[in-house]
């Protein structure tokens, strides 16, 4: 018989042994967590890249906040669309929607599917609906209490709903139900009169054609675009989205890796004990003539078999779990995602085998180098140098695994550093907790005292168990707190009459009527702020980007258009930190060298503006700097007169840059206001929407509820992943307990021989494990409270509050989980008759 077969034979014989089971279980858990995230990430990535140009709806897309008139010469197919948000109303119901006014050619690439009823697959059709009608997202129908065929109001026009959008380019699913999609005809948009000067609009120009003319067109077009206008190729379009997604995916994968690393700990402990229990076997086989190479074959085959079995089961569990996750995160899109990929299976298998090899090779190396003389003299071989090399190699392998997932060295360093730091803190805490346990032990008696003594005697084991379990409980609790707490705390600190609706897009000629309507219905509104969109382009005459270090140049306030306003009074919730508030000072100047357009802007080089402090800090702006803005095709410069703090969560309209009155007045501007509508006033809103169809009414409650819902979905998914971590923690507990099982059995035999009853032994075991679980729960509670306090205070400037329920739930959960896994692992030592135990141990 060859040694590979012998290995399998012995493995089959020993399959019921505790070590193999724990090893297998830990491997399944670790690989399961890696496979779950791997499968899901891969499906999403492929969903994006497989759609290619279809993802963008074109080969080339230009997005601009303003219409673009002149194009370089080209022979490409074109389509243009206008995208904006507006209210859609039916009877008393109204909803904010993202409207896309499209021509007959849209989409140039990919497809739009329109269905007759929600959640039907639908048929491929042009996105342009028939005259007098719109296509809407399925999620809009229940919000408006509408059905296909009903009529809805958009601005000043009524449309009938001709179908439901089942699929459109670039959409994976309707996760964000905040502003559902509506397609209408471009040639019917003007009649709605929704768009006002100053409205936030995206003009989308799409192009499709052969690669060569596309490249020529793209090259000619690029220099003519400014920074607010974006040119996206189909590949870049996918890459942008995929890039953002890959970042998120990477963090999720790292979360999964923590479970794998904890599993590695369990595997290493189980493998160590396995080796310990098989030195005699190895020595005996050597006596019978087995060479080192043959033993290596034997144990490698065993390990590889277990590794493949565990990894495959882990992959199977991952395949099931990723579907659950997909249903949680993308309930609408699951059926449209591509099938499971092959690549993540490879990744998970490699991770599993690497983890198993890394964790168990040191033990295995010792095993195959055992001296045959051990059969005569029970001495352990010293750990050979090669085993340390293998520890180094496996650590390197695991590091490589982390690097592979994390992608860049900085993230690896942060991850490994954070993990090492956390491990250090947990070990320290565990040690301190055990010291506390010592004090309790001195005061206790009977089985409790004996159980606690066990905990303290196996100090190393207890530290590992406490650390692993605390980590799992802590992370799960922290996520639960983040999910429930942040939004609650933030809501709690808002005054009851804080504005809960934004009125956006108020045309200048409507201002008086809107004010009258609000007065008439006794609604408390903020001041009306005019809004002009413009982009910051220069500082003291130099392009703004050149004044910044390279890493700061990608600042969002440089890329997008800012909402600019003007007012003489400092808004409530704003405070001047430096300089003087400009008050009623007037004046502005066209920037030197800019082509003279229609002189809408008045000139005064000393005109003052006020800049928000965070923006000033990021862009390195100080009092006295002269900033240049591009507004439409006009340029304007003004001097920073004050820097101001803004309470962003005040629910008032807030602005980065506020001009003095007189500088922007002549520009077409719409206004924004916030208003508090109490529950019993809500019935006036449909009247408002009917009276002012072009004004967007944004329900902040809904926005927050939507964000909360998405947040809850994502956190729920991550918590599910942390379930793996908890399972891995339990595997560590079981593995360490198994490692001490022989010693425990000896003690139990001794105690029973001395007359201890079974109940006494059982009680002492339960005391030990429950104490361990309680301690882990308490430590996790403390860690979670501290982390949460830091997050609330530092990140969100929210008041710190304690969570008494946490201190009950976590210790109880810990006691239950550790108690159960501990009792199940060790219970038989109370049942074996002393005589049999003595014989088994001799």
């Amino acid at each position: 018989m060859n040694f590979a077969r012998l290995g399998l034979w012995l493995l089959r014989r020993e399959r019921a042994s505790g070590e193999w089971r724990v090893l297998l279980l830990a491997l399944i858990i670790g690989v399961g967590s890696v496979a779950t995230t791997g499968f899901l990430g891969d499906r999403l990535k492929r969903a994006m890249s497989e759609q290619g140009a279809g993802f963008l709806g074109a080969d080339l897309l230009v997005s601009s906040p303003r219409p673009i008139a002149g194009w370089p010469q080209h022979t490409l197919a074109t389509s243009s669309a206008i995208e904006f948000t507006s209210m859609v109303a039916k009877d008393d119901a109204f909803q904010l929607a993202t409207l896309r006014a499209v021509d007959a050619a849209y989409p140039l690439r990919g497809s739009v599917r329109i269905a007759a009823r929600p959640f039907e697959p639908g048929t491929v059709r042009p996105a342009q609906p028939p005259h007098g009608s719109v296509y809407v997202d399925a999620s809009l129908l229940p919000l408006l209490n509408a059905q296909v065929g009903d009529r809805v109001q958009i601005g000043e026009t009524r449309f009938s709903i001709a179908g439901v959008v089942a699929e459109e380019p670039g959409q994976l699913g309707g996760v964000f139900g905040l502003a559902p999609r509506v397609f209408l005809r471009a040639d019917e948009m003007a009649a709605t009169r929704v768009l006002q000067p100053g409205s936030r609009v995206s003009y989308l120009y799409q192009f499709a054609g052969e690669a060569k003319p596309l490249a020529a067109f793209s090259a000619a077009l690029k220099p003519t675009l400014d920074r607010t206008q974006r040119l996206i190729g189909s590949r870049e379009g996918v890459e942008t989205v995929r890039g953002a997604f890959a970042n998120a995916d990477r963090y999720i994968q790292l979360t999964a890796l923590i479970s794998l690393l904890l599993s590695v700990a369990a595997i290493a402990i189980a493998a160590h004990r396995h080796a310990l229990r098989h030195y005699d076997q190895a020595a005996l086989l050597r006596c019978m003539g087995a060479t080192t190479a043959q033993l290596r074959t034997l144990y490698s085959v065993q390990l590889l078999t277990l590794g493949l079995l565990g990894s495959l089961l882990g992959v199977a569990i991952g395949a099931a779990m990723q579907q659950v996750l997909a249903l949680m995160v993308l309930p609408d899109a699951v059926t449209r995602l591509p099938a499971l990929g092959i690549a993540p299976i490879g990744v998970a298998l490699v991770s599993g085998l690497l983890a198993l090899a890394g964790a168990s090779l040191p033990a295995l190396m010792r095993l195959i180098r055992v001296s045959p003389l051990r059969v005569l003299r029970r001495e352990l071989p010293p750990l050979p140098l090669a085993a340390w090399i293998s520890v180094g190699a496996s650590a390197t392998a695991l590091l490589a695994l982390v690097t592979w997932v994390a992608g860049d060295a900085k993230l690896v360093a942060v991850f490994v550093g954070a993990l090492a730091g956390l491990t250090g803190v947990l070990i320290l805490l565990a040690r301190l907790a055990l010291l506390g346990g010592q004090a309790v032990q001195k005061l206790s008696h009977g089985p409790l005292r004996f159980g606690l003594a066990q905990l303290l005697r196996h100090r190393f084991d207890s530290t590992v168990q406490l650390g692993a379990f605390t980590l799992a409980l802590f992370l799960i609790a922290l996520l639960a707190l983040v999910r429930s707490d942040l939004v609650d705390s933030w809501r709690a600190q808002l005054p009851p009459d804080a504005p809960n609706y934004f009125l956006v897009n108020i045309a200048p000629q409507q201002q008086a009527d809107v004010a009258a309507f609000l007065r008439q219905h006794q609604l408390q509104a903020s001041a009306l702020y005019p809004m002009v969109r413009g982009r910051l382009v220069s500082k003291n005459g130099s392009p703004i980007a050149t004044t910044l270090p390279p890493e700061a140049r990608n600042n969002a306030s440089l890329r997008r258009e800012l909402n600019l306003t003007w007012t003489a009074t400092l808004p409530a919730n704003n405070a001047v930190l430096a300089g003087h508030w400009h008050g009623n000072q007037r004046g502005a100047a066209p920037v030197k060298g800019t082509p003279a357009g229609t002189p809408l802007l008045r000139s005064d080089p000393s005109a003052a503006i006020s800049v928000e402090s965070g923006m000033a800090e990021q862009l390195n702006l100080t009092i006295g700097d002269t900033l240049g803005f591009q507004i439409g095709d006009q340029m304007l410069s003004a001097r920073i007169g004050s820097i101001r703090s803004v309470k962003w969560d005040s629910m008032q309209p807030n602005f980065f840059v506020i001009f003095a009155p007189g500088q922007l007045d002549a520009l077409p501007a719409s206004s924004i206001a916030s208003v508090h509508v109490s529950a019993n006033q809500a019935s006036v809103l449909p009247g408002f929407v009917k009276a002012f169809p072009g004004i967007t009414v944004l329900a902040l409650d809904k926005v927050i509820a939507n964000i909360e819902a998405v947040f809850a979905q994502v956190i729920g998914a991550i918590q599910l992943l942390l379930g793996f971590l908890l399972a891995a923690g339990m595997a560590v507990v079981v593995a360490t307990l198994l490692a001490s099982l022989d010693a425990r059995q000896q003690e139990a035999v001794l105690l029973r021989t001395l007359g201890a009853q079974r109940a006494y032994l059982a009680k002492s075991l339960w005391s030990e494990f429950i104490a361990l679980g309680l301690l882990a729960g308490l430590l996790a509670s403390a860690c979670a409270e501290i982390a949460m306090a830091l997050i609330a205070h530092r990140l969100f400037e929210l008041p710190v509050r304690l969570h008494p329920w946490l201190w009950l739930v976590l210790p109880a959960a810990g006691a239950l989980l550790v108690g159960l896994s501990g009792w199940l692992t060790t219970r038989h030592i109370t049942r074996v008759p002393p005589m049999q135990s003595i014989r088994a141990l001799s």
Partner: protein, 233 residues
């Protein structure tokens, strides 16, 4: 040793065999200048007090360890020139062992424990031979039992069957009755010599059981690592 009769040729020979180990108190001499030749088919008892070096000598003779100095021949091979793996290959199928603590694999049944060395030696009729040897030691009824379900005497009988199953040229036994009561021990001794006689195997055993030593053709007595010439028969 002069005859060409293979039965007269020594299967185990030691010249000036010395074993030292390094301890924290300096080097410790365990065996000193042991001279020994065991002919094929011979039965030899190595006796001596605890710590006299008996087990060390047995381990060296069986090729389980390397001597500090001296020459050692096993089955015609100079062990000094072989590394551990080469010595293992030499043992495979040709050397049997019986231990004080039985050393049965706990996960395997009685039959499978006997099967193990046969499988390792690649015997085609492994299963039949294992069954045959199980019958020889009178434990056919216990075939499917694991060591935990067997008494000490039964376990040692399985170990005897395992040692003889491959038709080895030499069987080394280390205190084979050390863990057994007198009555059981006596029965094991009877069985050991009966099997040895019928298989014509060379038997080298370590014991401090006088009754056991007396049944061997020859005995050497170790005192503090030296062969006590007076006691040697």
């Amino acid at each position: 040793m002069t005859s060409s009769d293979p039965a007269q040729f020594p299967v185990v020979a030691a010249r000036a065999l010395t074993q030292r180990v390094n301890t924290s108190d300096g080097p410790l001499l365990i065996l000193s200048d042991v001279e020994l030749a065991v002919k094929a088919g011979e039965t030899l008892a190595i006796t001596g007090a605890s710590g006299s070096g008996k087990s060390t000598l047995l381990g060296l003779l069986a090729g389980l360890d390397q001597p500090s100095s001296g020459e050692l021949f096993l089955l015609g091979q100079n062990l000094n020139t072989l590394d551990e793996d080469a010595r293992a290959r030499l043992r495979a199928g040709r050397i049997g062992f019986v231990f004080q603590s039985f050393q049965l694999l706990p996960a395997l049944t009685a039959l499978e424990n006997i099967l193990l060395p046969l499988e390792l030696a690649g015997r085609a009729d492994a299963r039949e031979r294992a069954s045959h040897w199980l019958e020889r030691v009178g434990l056919t009824a216990r075939s499917g039992h694991t060591p935990r379900q067997l008494s000490g005497g039964e376990q040692q009988r399985i170990a005897l069957a395992r040692a003889f199953a491959t038709d080895p040229e030499i069987v080394f036994a280390d205190e084979p009755t050390g863990n057994l009561d007198a009555e059981t021990g006596a029965r094991i001794i009877d069985l050991l010599f009966e099997l040895n006689a019928s298989a014509h195997t060379t038997l080298i055993l370590v014991t401090h059981d006088e009754a056991l030593a007396a049944r061997c053709q020859r005995r050497i007595h170790l005192v503090a690592g030296h062969v006590n010439k007076a006691a040697a028969a």
